[in-house]
Amino acid sequence: MSAPGESGREALNRVWAQPRGWRYFSEVNNTAVGLWYLAAGLGFFAVAGVLALLMRLQLAWPWMGFLGPEAYNQVFTMHGTIMMVVFAVPIMEAVAVYVLPQMLGVRDLPFPRLSSYGFWCYLLGGLLLLSSFLFGPVPNGGWFMYTPLSGPEYTPGLNTDFWLLGLTFIEISAVAACIELIVGIMKTRAPGMSLDRMPILGWAFLTVAVMILFAFPPLLLGDVLLEAERVLDWPFFDAGRGGDPLLWQHLFWFFGHPEVYIIFLPGAAMVSTILPTFCGRPLVGHQWVVVATIATGILSFGLWVHHMFAAGIPLLSLSLFSAASMAVAIPSGIQVFAWLATLWGARPRWDTPFLFVIGFLVIFVIGGLTGVMVASVPFDWQVTDTHFVVAHFHYVLIGGAIFPLFGALTYWFPLPSGRLMDETVGKWSFWLMFVGFNVTFFPLHVLGLLGMPRRVYTYPGGLGWEWLNLTATIGAFVLGAGVAVFFANLAWSWKRGRPAGHDPWKAGTLEWAGPTPLTDSGGASVPRVRSLHPLWDQPAEMAAAARGEALMCRPTTHGRETLRVSAVSAEPQQVIQVSGPGWSQVAAAAATAVMFGAGTFHLWGVAAAGGVVTLALLTRWAWHSDRQPPMARVDIGQGIVVPTYAADHSSHAWWAAVVAVLFDGAAYLALLSAYVFLWLVNPVWPPPPWEGRIALGDILAGGGMLAVAAVLAHAGAGLHRRGRHWALPAGLGGAVAVAVAVAWTGLSTLTAADLGPTRHAFPATVWVMALYTLVHLGVATLLALLVLARQAAGLVTPVRRMTVMMTVLAWDFAAFTGLASMAMLVLWPATGGGGGICTW
């Protein structure tokens, strides 16, 4: 709605205006949050890079005394952890948050406040992890934190806890990004951008978001179990009490391997974006690159055990995972051939972004080759834990992520700044990095083959390792210099670079449709797209859109808005009001940090207070969401009229809820798998003391009550929808009452069964399953109370019922997983002559 006499563009600028001064940090829009995200990621990269240089200094020559063994352990752990989880994954999320909305042609993704909360959690989590340098107990167990080394016995200090703390925050920000990206990519695109016209970057981030959805939950579970072992002495990983250290390895690598592709796929997509622009022609085999992206994403879930080849696992696991690891080279190969075919016969412009792309191709192919080598088990047995592996994964990670990323930063730099980075300096930074990189890491292959182990703080002379190490160290400083030059170029060009003007690279995708720098509103209007390269194929229409002559050229509701479209064909479905500036996400992130930070120091009172405040803030946030603008339908231009509110299964809010539940469900599946795994490694399960401890009747009664609770919630919501207002309090109230009864009887049954969780992994796992259900019943209860309060305040009606739908979903999920846990306990066949936990 514009004020009288205000043009559409003025109205847009008003509602999207970024706050000034310190209030700038209350902004939630992608153009601001994306930038902070990028800046923070690069900051952490710099820190981890300095740590790398320290290590290379120490390794430069035999018997250097610069870093002692303990310091070296800490430094490689922090370097690896920061690079992998605090830099590489988040910076890819940052690129997505910043660039995707523009590239998809919309003003913003649907949940800017959530993205922003994710950013603040990420920033605080990274800083908390770094703060271990101030407090002393720096994580020192390696970036994969293997048990039992990381367990309570061998790491009694807080080192591991700091690591777990940092990872918790990365998990939170990853969930936020995952919801935002899946729903955003599927539901907010320019009209007409059907999936077949979606750029590769969109496909890559969609794939990556789905991978996060299934890869991060097992890690989350592992973190919880490890922390429980450390703080409560629940022996999940303690072989003496029925646990197994390999359980940690499985949970970690089920995350850790896909993570590598979570980093690589966006990098590859940046290449697929930059390459066609500089060759001035479409990517050859666009759909094969889409196929390869999706296939890589899914195949990468079948590789995790290749990190455990030396752990003493069965022969068949070795060969299965070896085969799968080689198979994944096929889709990567498809991408490489598509790039080569695009290059073939083209006359590319050799500007800095293109140089980085070529650097990527060279380095990544070498890394891929050594990857196929280590996928072969006998070879891996020779080189595992040597510097050969260090060389391999830096070739893939730096080749696959850093080079494309730096190319992409140069490429998209005009969007925020309106300027180009300096070309000459850019070329210098590239060549320093390229040469420095190879001089550092190529010799490490040889060192590895000569037998130099990784993770050793020094080595004796006379083994022929000196000169190679010295070369590598010199290379590392050259590489470091290249990075420093790149950063200096960024800083200098920000204010003083050459003005970029409109579409400086003659690109075909929508982020270049308007002027640079981007306006706060992200464009004067939203175009209708008919091609994969709208700027190449429909230039007149795009120019008109940039003048504000297409859709949504004025805010039709009072606030910031973005367009929701149908998932596949991208037909307009709804104008969504998105959040504007505010502090609740910053406050919630701070409270979350207090909660987990204090918990790490075992300051339980403070942690609990932080938890309560977090909960209160999230409740307030939920209270203010799902509001309906006063106008039911609005005209977005060209005669298209869409609703401003929808509470059905096509709604972005519903999709978000489903994604959240899938994440949770994946965590639950990981828990069940852990249970099965422990059952497999234990000769008798459950162990004799717990055989027949629970009456079957008790379990059946508990299961029945869970089902009743879900049915009550459904019935209440269903009747309410048909206009019976009383049914909502009756149904949800009934469900809450039943939940309280289930919790009570469940807890007393478990206590009576004498399931002391510190005695054995079996009772500990049973307790985790029970607590899982209790927590979910608690969440469902809170949601029910929230809905009832909203109903009392007139915010929930039979039409405006999205929160009701979500609440019912929460009840379904709690009941379903609870029933599954009970079925598992009762039915999972007892072995070794045992009779199971139930008396029949």
């Binding site: 196929v291 060969s319 799968a324």
Partner: protein, 101 residues
């Protein structure tokens, strides 16, 4: 118009492969623990997966009519073919290597 269901079908094949992969892994783990013969189960699972992957080509044919550019059909067939290849590849290894030990 290409529906969400069609699009899901297009990306279903690698999911099938993953399910297959986990099944093979799981069946072997159980078989080695309890000394069951795993061969017949594996043969059946492999045949089923391969059949399901091949059967996917049929509904994809319909897409050829509603979508002239061929994107979804090509993507569906490409993913199907890759998944089939990966399935046979995994099956071959699980046949050639003695499972337990």
């Amino acid at each position: 118009m290409v529906s969400l269901r069609d699009a899901t079908l297009v990306v279903a094949a690698p999911g099938l492969w993953f399910g297959y992969f986990l099944l093979v892994y799981g069946v072997h783990a159980l078989a080695c623990r309890f000394l069951w013969p795993s061969g017949p189960v594996l043969a059946a699972v492999t045949a089923l997966t391969a059949a399901a992957l091949a059967a996917e080509a049929w509904p994809l044919r319909r897409l050829a009519r509603i979508e002239p550019a061929g994107f979804y059909r090509a993507a569906g067939l490409g993913l199907g073919a890759l998944s089939l290849l990966a399935t046979l590849w995994v099956a071959a290894t699980s046949w050639m290597v003695p499972p337990c030990g």
